[in-house]
Amino acid sequence: MSDSSLTSDNRATLDEIDRAIVRATQAGLPLVPEPYQQVADEVGISSQEVQSRMQCMLDQGCIRRIGAVPNHYTLGFRGNGMTVWDVPDEKVREYGKKIGDLDFVSHAYHRPRHLPEWSYNLFAMVHGKDRSEVDHKTAQIAELLGDDCQAHEVLCSSRILKKTGLRIV
């Protein structure tokens, strides 16, 4: 997938049937032998159409992935460190891609600085079983950035106050 398809300006257009599929599947697929058939019955189209439309949403990037969605917290991954980095603006894209490719990083984003109180322009979510594992992985990112890392911090979560899935329409 090209980078351009991921920018905010390039949104896939979903029609009413696509939206009905989103509504029928956002809380999960039914755990029955033919889950897409059950979704199809709910939406009122054929199972084949459900599958082809979901494939299309995958190709467009509207669906990131289809699979088991782990709950990292209950699985013992409680580090959940939001690492934030101050890198030169002209290099944020290059480093964002490199950091995003690390297998322990689930998300990497360029976000705006708000000087003077917030100087970090690159965010990377690092997951680990505990704080020391997150720190170890953060050190690997720091090493990758070298002198281009002007400052960084790790913001570990102390409480999850709310975490809900996407709700649309």
Partner: protein, 175 residues
């Protein structure tokens, strides 16, 4: 205080979750770990996806469905299904607030009570409340931020996504 009174009458907040404790690593079988590791993406868009998974795992469709059901009931997976790209269906932003300790509980409860907030975390930092606001468009999101700012009395740092670098395909839980 007028604001405090209004808070008490406008919503009944859920109780806060307890603070992070020492992790309890669940005992999982090899097959359960493989289900979690290998099927965070790539669930087949075929008439019988669980049977297809079973074939790759040298298992049976019935067993795969049973284990996924079990992992879901135990809370180890939240669901099996599509993960949608958030901004496709509206506009969202990451926001942060620095709240004094003695007011954190009240501010956090208000933020959580807003239906536009889908994630809300307390983090170890002077900016200690981090939340994601999602609404139909940018103006609606900024309106919510303004309301939170006004209600709580603290400046909200608005950190919208400028560019994502990674499609979240899940990541290995065990090597």
């Amino acid at each position: 205080m007028a604001i405090a009174e209004r808070r008490q009458t406008t919503f009944t907040p859920p109780p806060l979750q307890p603070p992070v404790e020492a992790p309890v690593i669940p005992l999982l079988t090899t097959l359960e770990k493989r289900l979690l590791n290998e099927f965070q993406h790539g669930l087949p868009l075929s008439p019988t996806p669980y049977a297809d998974m079973a074939e790759k795992l040298d298992s049976s469709e019935q067993e795969v469905i049973r284990l996924l059901q079990k992992l879901k009931e135990l809370g180890y997976i939240s669901r099996v299904g599509p993960v949608f790209k958030p901004r496709q269906v509206g506009y969202s932003t990451l926001a942060a607030m620095a709240v004094p300790c003695d007011q954190l509980h009240t501010a956090a409860e208000y933020v959580t009570s807003r239906s536009e907030v889908n994630h809300n975390y307390e983090r170890h930092h002077h900016l200690n409340l981090w939340f994601v606001v999602t609404a139909a468009d940018q103006a609606a999101v900024e309106q919510v931020l303004t309301e939170i700012e006004t209600h709580c009395g603290f400046t909200v740092l608005n950190l919208p996504l400028l560019k994502p670098f990674h499609i979240d395909l899940g990541f290995p839980l065990w090597n």
